[in-house]
Amino acid sequence: MSNILELKNVSFDYFLNGEASLRALDDISLTIEKGEYIALIGSNGSGKSTLARLLNAILLPTAGEVWVDGLLTSRDEHRWEIRRRVGMVFQNPDNQIVATTVEEDVAFGLENLGIPSSLIKRRVSEALERVGLSSFRNHAPYLLSGGQKQRLAIAGIIAMRPHCLVLDEPTAMLDPRGRREVLDTVKKMNRREGITVVHITHFMEETLEADRIFVMDRGKIVQSAKPEELFNGETDLNQLGLEIPVLPRLIRMLRSEGLDIPANILNLNDLVNILC
């Protein structure tokens, strides 16, 4: 396995009137392997979104280096190739849809890449199929539900054949059903097609399926662990402004009551099997 994303001593300052006024990221180093599913959590203002934006050269680090697939984000000639390889889905579904029909919006990125028309059509159909929106091809985007809009945004990205998908709180504005739709789609992209996923989220439940969880606090990565290690371990998540999801919390409580539950249990079915 090779590294798809690599951050070397990355810092980022926001500037105000020419002066560095806020250190959003503070000397972060990390590597993410191809095909990994990473969840990135942390309280508001911990630097999650800033980190995400460094991954496809929307922001450039004040200090340090960001490498994507062996390309350096701060080199101008790498910028567009990096943006093709690292696709981004944002929080507000409305503010990332450009075109007036579903298929046109999926085509937007491909058109930017200068791909010939016949190939665009094929890739658009394929991408819509993969996110399950084929029947909405000619719909106007505002007629879609929140979950469908986010899936449309994902389709627009995967049509460009990225190696990595960065999602910046994609479910924050959705209802539970929409959240499920988006999570299932993302998981499918990761498991079936091997696309690396960096998923930023507020919902702790959404991190349970990740390969690794990064916990951020005040511009630093304070924890990097597998979900079962993180939630069963000693880290005081409450102090970082985070909450342990219901299931691990329940397991903890059962354990303290003297029940013997193995450390790698993280979903409901497994727990039921162990207990009954």
Binding site: R53, N56, I58, W80, R83, R84, G87, M88, F90, N92, D94, N95, Q96, I97, V98, A99, T100, T101, E103, E104, A107, F108, G109, L110, E111, N112, L113, G114, I115, P116, S117, I120, K121, V124, A140, P141, Y142, G156, I157, M160
Partner: protein, 264 residues
Amino acid sequence: MRAITLGHYLPGDSLLHKLDPRIKLLCLLVLIVTLFLVRTFWGFILFGAFIFIIFLIAKLPWRYFLRGLRPVLYIILFTLILHFLFTKGGKVYWRLGPLSVEEAGIYMGTFMTLRLILLVVTTLLITLTTSPISFADGIEFMLRPFRRLGIPGHEIAMMMTIALRFIPTLMEESDKIRKAQIARGADFETGNIFRRARNLVPLLVPLFVSAFRRADELAIAMEARCYQGGKGRTKMRELHTKPLDYFGLFTSFGMMLVILLGRV
């Protein structure tokens, strides 16, 4: 939510709907020029008959034309009255102090009014049968040769597309803000027009603030999807001219020639 269409596009599958948008824009240009070449009432009758036939081909309902004329009604009336009162010459029909209605005034007034009405109707014929999005495509193409003069054709078309995309979103949002302000005691319904206009401020300010925030986020999302302006960009839907398009163009130029050579 109210359905909003720009330029009142009416979907359909007539021959006119099928024309290439670029050709339609070109035809419109030719016909407008033709309209200004018309010198007699016979010319208008000829032109009117031509438009009437196209109108039948396009299978559009009558009321859309009346509705389309309504916004320009005052301009038409204004032109008519101005000419009636101030263009002098020929027989005097009516006089009151410095004001008089004379023969030349009536002639010019009717002439200009007919020209205006035909201008609006011709334009409507095109806008009613062209979807806004293919309109944008057409405009982008037509402006391409003017790129060197600094006319940003691609950007104009992109702006049109984004505007179309965000009209429903912003409508929904203004509705939401309106309700939120009413819940806080705002009054949008009573008072005279000035008062009402002033009362719109609590609606407009949040709407604009949010529109700017949206624009900012959209710009980042577009850049993240490799948008770098019109250079090197391709299109999913390419425009192709068909024999029908050449026929349309040929007919428009034909009309122009008839008007020119017939000296009508």
